[in-house]
């Protein structure tokens, strides 16, 4: 379960969500998109186009055939419980993980149609029947859990219907969980009426993920949540927590130290699944930038050294 703390205007977190879903399309996974604001179909229309060779779309090659690109300085974010790979200098020995995308282009509808996707759009679920109240949880969350559980069961991601088609993975993306649009007031007041709905939701969600072949990314507008205890609990209930801090509108926008970047990526928690140890990468200082075609995450230390060099020329 990957929890992403949204940047102030949700620009970059929504981009990360689309990368996650796009990777699912390219890998042939099923998708489940949940949102209370943007219709899932619209989110899917805006997925970035993958950079692949021409044979791909006709042949549907397996996920391991990633192309190497000309970006030695960039690191990719790991979406499941693998870690940010170290920067490799020789492409032949590097571990190929994931694909590359062109954010200036949209994914072709044919590619999107080659996979199966499910959606949950809260406004479409209204009016929520009162009897659906599950565990004293917010109705929207309860309904979403039921929807996810039913997809997992019916499509056999939890091992039921073993005689069905071959095993596949369900990628779940949930946008802006906890926001006012989900009928939760944790973002609008310091003393919310019900602080347990979201944590109960996450606990049950993680239970569903553990017993099925699925991975999930959620984005949360944590900068709006005044009650910090809630985010502490969310962190403990998630496997991976990353926070995006964009420079838009902050003093860092004009700070020369950050001039090459659009924001910082904070890794708050990395997963320790099925082992005692987690592989903590050496680099902790990550920054991101959105170029015309690409969103990259880079190690910021290199920039720091550049500025510490004494100037030799006037």
């Amino acid at each position: 379960l990957v929890s992403t703390e949204e940047d102030k205007y949700g620009v970059y977190s929504s981009l990360l969500l689309k990368y996650f879903l796009a990777e699912g399309v390219v890998c042939g996974h099923d998708l489940f998109v949940a949102s209370a604001q943007d219709p899932p179909a619209n989110i899917l229309k805006e997925l970035p186009a993958p950079l692949l060779d021409d044979n791909f779309i006709t042949e549907r090659v397996e996920a391991t055939a990633a192309k190497s690109e000309d970006c030695q300085d960039s690191m990719q974010i790991a979406w499941r419980y693998q870690n940010a790979p170290k920067v490799e200098t020789s492409p032949t020995t590097s571990i190929k993980f994931g694909h590359y995308y062109d954010v200036s282009q949209k994914m072709s509808p044919e590619l999107l149609q080659s996979i199966k996707w499910h959606s949950f759009f809260l406004p479409d679920e209204m009016p929520l029947e009162p009897k659906l109240k599950m565990c004293n949880m917010n109705c929207g969350y309860a309904r979403l859990l039921q929807s996810i559980q039913s997809v997992i069961y019916q499509e056999g991601f939890d091992g039921s219907h073993p005689q069905k088609k071959q095993k596949n993975i369900l990628r779940i993306g949930i946008q802006s969980l906890g926001s006012l649009l989900w009928d939760d007031d944790i973002c609008s007041t310091n003393t919310p009426e019900d602080i347990h709905s979201i944590t109960k939701f996450l606990y049950v969600l993680r239970g569903l993920l553990r017993k099925s072949l699925s991975a999930c990314i959620i984005t949360m507008p944590s900068h709006l949540i005044e009650n910090k205890a809630i985010m502490e609990r969310v962190t403990n209930l998630s496997d991976v927590v990353v926070g995006l801090e964009s420079f838009i509108g902050s003093e860092r926008e004009t700070n020369p130290l950050y001039k090459d970047y659009h924001g910082l990526l904070h890794v708050h928690q990395i997963p320790r699944l099925n082992s005692l140890i987690c592989d903590v990468s050496d680099t902790k200082d990550l920054a991101f930038r959105l170029k015309r075609k690409q969103f990259t995450v880079e190690v910021r230390e290199a920039v720091l050294f550049h500025y510490l060099e004494p100037k030799r020329w006037s």
């Binding site: 347990h196 944590t199 109960k200 606990y203 205890a229 502490e232 403990n236 903590v280």
Partner: protein, 214 residues
């Protein structure tokens, strides 16, 4: 009773010291309540159950206390005629989650209190509890539970990362506090070690004496 407190970023290695839990479970030596699974059964299971409430019944909101959880613990640990196991240990991983699931701090503390009565006093066993916590935490409910637990614990293992930040060879520090007397804090024995976690093992060493340094 023993409490372990870990800040959010630290792993729990107390209960996983190279013992095969699966084998123990098969022998009947281990009763494992898997919270995530039990919760799913409660949330998505059919309305009519066998008549027995789920150990995690409190999540549904139909009851507010943790009596069902306690009953489960008590029944599992109470010796039967064919029982040959010598000691009793209750491991709880982790108590802080119960707060996230809607239990009130007082109910959590009551639960531990009842467990202590049965496991420690009655069955002469031990309880090991894991809680999360950090000094700059703003989770007042959790802090309350941690403070109260520490007051009633004979042994406290306080685990945290290094104040100087991340280090590849030393993952953190563990402070072992032995309470010789639960009435006063004067005679506590405190030992501090640092540790490094490996794949299936944890190595402990005195401060500044990690293998990388020696």
């Amino acid at each position: 009773a023993c409490s372990c407190s870990c800040p959010a970023a630290q792993p729990c290695f107390v209960a996983c010291q190279g013992v095969s839990l699966t084998a123990a479970k098969e022998r009947g030596q281990l009763v494992f309540l898997e919270g995530l699974k039990s919760c799913l059964d409660l949330v998505f299971g059919e309305e009519e159950r066998s008549g027995q409430p789920s150990p995690l019944q409190f999540i549904s909101g139909s009851v507010s206390n943790l009596k069902d959880l306690f009953d489960f613990v008590r029944t599992s640990l109470t010796p039967t005629d064919s029982d040959c196991w010598k000691g009793r240990v209750l491991l709880v991983d982790d108590l802080s989650v119960l707060l996230s699931l809607g239990a009130a701090p007082v109910d959590v503390l009551d639960f531990i209190h009842y467990c202590r009565m049965v496991v420690c006093s009655q069955l002469k066993g031990n309880i090991v509890v894991l809680v999360h916590g950090s000094e700059d935490s703003e989770d007042e409910e959790n802090k309350l539970v941690v403070t109260s637990l520490c007051h009633h614990s004979n042994l406290i293992l306080w685990v945290e990362g290094l104040a100087t930040g991340f280090c590849k060879d030393v993952h953190g520090e563990i402070k072992i506090i032995k309470r010789l007397s639960l009435e006063s804090t004067e005679k506590d024995v405190i030992q501090i070690y640092q540790y490094k976690i490996q794949d299936k093992n944890v190595t402990f060493f005195a401060r500044g004496l990690s293998a990388a340094v020696l």
